[in-house]
Chain length 336, copies 2
């Protein structure tokens, strides 16, 4: 069933059928009703490919995520779910592209074939080949996360610098004097991954401002590494009384390490940081932390992208979110 057949059955031209459906041109009420009845009887739906071709837009956005090899974290999963939901509210479908490096097949297919009206990039790096590619090709895009010098593109990000500093101040206010930062993996820091480097900057600046004794350590994104790092850290520096972490995947290991070392939380040891709400709630005791507002970030990213698609010439917009630290039960004054 196609629009021509509907037109034939309704005794009108194809354009009249199209206008009756879109309302972009006046169609007499009688004609419109007749057309709609025929459409209803025939169960006609416009073909998306033909529509995309004629309109010059696909009503689809691309969502670029790290390839399957690198394990997706629950936060990234949250972005995917949130973006798909938000896109649905804008009547947009989502094409998933697992692309990391330079010339990625699925990424190229999507861009070159103009399969999408815009792209959302996640896990953006300092020099991001995908962002450069999108700029060159003129496809509107928004990134979740930003890098310095990326002012040209729109982005949504978390103020890791301010949040890490906020955590430091919280611990300092409670009376902690010797604290540590449990950061993301070393490679992430080295490759200029924003959250890792900005958390480090915020932590360093705030501990200096409060004259705290500060240690920082990188940690792979898994529980075993988290356990090892914390055990090593407290063996080397037993005087540490609190940890700020931005590595949520390490949390179960942090919990285990502290238990094994007899550092009861929060009586003898405080833990805080920036993590997904799920992880904060699963921690024992529940973690006092800035919850990553995954859904809000996804919403804003889609919103920004929808804007850039409809007005590509408008100036880029930047959204830097700074959620509050949710007081739960993992921080307290240090034991004397």
């Amino acid at each position: 069933m196609n629009i021509g057949e509907i037109a034939r059955r309704a005794g009108v031209s194809r354009s009249t059928v199209s206008y009756a459906l879109s309302g972009k041109r006046a169609v007499s009420e009688v004609t419109r009703r007749r057309i709609l009845r025929v459409i209803d009887e025939a169960g006609y739906r416009p073909n998306a490919s033909a529509r995309a071709l004629a309109e010059g837009r696909t009503r689809t956005i691309g969502l670029v995520i790290p390839p399957a090899g690198r394990r997706l974290t629950p936060i990234q999963l949250g972005f995917v779910a949130g973006i798909v939901a938000a896109a649905g509210r804008h009547e947009l479908d989502v094409l998933l592209s697992p692309s990391g490096g330079e010339h990625d097949r699925s990424f190229e297919r999507i861009i070159e074939g103009r399969r999408v009206d815009g792209v959302i990039l996640t896990e953006i790096r300092l020099r991001d080949a995908r962002a450069a590619r999108l700029r060159d090709s003129g496809v509107p895009f928004v990134s979740i996360g930003h890098t310095v010098g990326a002012e040209a593109g729109s982005w949504v990000d978390l103020d890791y610098e301010g949040l890490a500093a906020g955590c430091v101040h919280h611990l300092a206010d409670l009376g902690h004097r010797v604290i540590a930062l449990l950061n993301r993996p070393r490679e992430f820091l080295d490759s200029g991954y924003g959250p890792a480097s900005r958390a480090l900057a915020g932590f360093t600046a705030a501990t200096a401002a409060r004259s705290l004794d500060a240690t920082t350590v990188c940690c792979p994104d898994d529980a075993t590494a988290g356990q090892n790092r914390v055990e090593d850290l407290l063996a080397a520096r037993p005087e540490i009384t609190g940890i700020v972490t931005v590595n949520e995947a390490a949390l179960p290991g942090v919990e285990r390490a502290l238990r094994r070392l007899g550092r009861a939380v929060p009586a003898l040891f405080s833990v805080t940081g920036v993590v997904g709400r799920h992880w904060a709630e699963e921690f024992h005791p529940p973690l006092t932390a800035a919850d990553v507002p995954v859904e809000e970030m996804a919403d804003r990213a889609v919103e920004l992208l929808a804007e850039r698609i409809s007005a590509p010439a408008a100036p880029a917009r930047h959204v830097l979110l700074r959620p509050p630290i949710s007081l739960r039960a993992s921080t307290a004054p240090p034991s004397p």
Copy 2:
């Protein structure tokens, strides 16, 4: 840049350009080279929408996942990542549709607009409105998971019945006489969710066959619930020496409950089951369990779908996987 312009610059017809690219008709070497050079210079890429229209296929598959409200488990995330990767190997893109209930916007958009050549359904239910809808509309589909009476469609599934039985036999062989099944949430069982009901059936049959004292309990998909369920279970029936679980999200809670109750694993208590490898490895001690072969299931699902797309009339195929139980460190003979 379009194919007509390429044809003009190369001094050939549009069809020759197309044939030179696809190889579906012989084109002289000289002409072909000239065309390819022009294409290269102009940076021409066929428009995917126009190609989809002409070919009558989109080179895209739909992946239907539970909506964002219901938390996605790491296994589901694994399916998404695995399917996207496998689809990429078939030169297929993936359109994500978070759809659960009856009339879901994004699902309808995808099906009615013929935006996809086929669909992969996950989290399939006993009477699945989406499966019925796909059957009616004639869109090829494959489901991950199956229900009785769904013989008409192709599917890939895990033999939860055999796997649960295998876990029971493993515990029975070690000498356990009183064991329990920690199942998925009660609503899942009630709504005819296959893995939950088949695990229950396999567990029940095997414990009966081995004359074991068996208890079964449902458990919401989270750690806190897991802890509560296990604590309640062992308070009511302290003689239980082993647990079979198909609820991976509950595992961190299971670990906590056993520790609190002083049931050292595996010396005093055994734990086994069917869970994603990641969860098995994060458990302390590492969990002896049948690892859900997420990647293989994703591969097979895409493969089956590719077959159904190319030969829709061919009979449906069913793949029932039964991975081995990986011996790690969480089971041992019961203490005397």
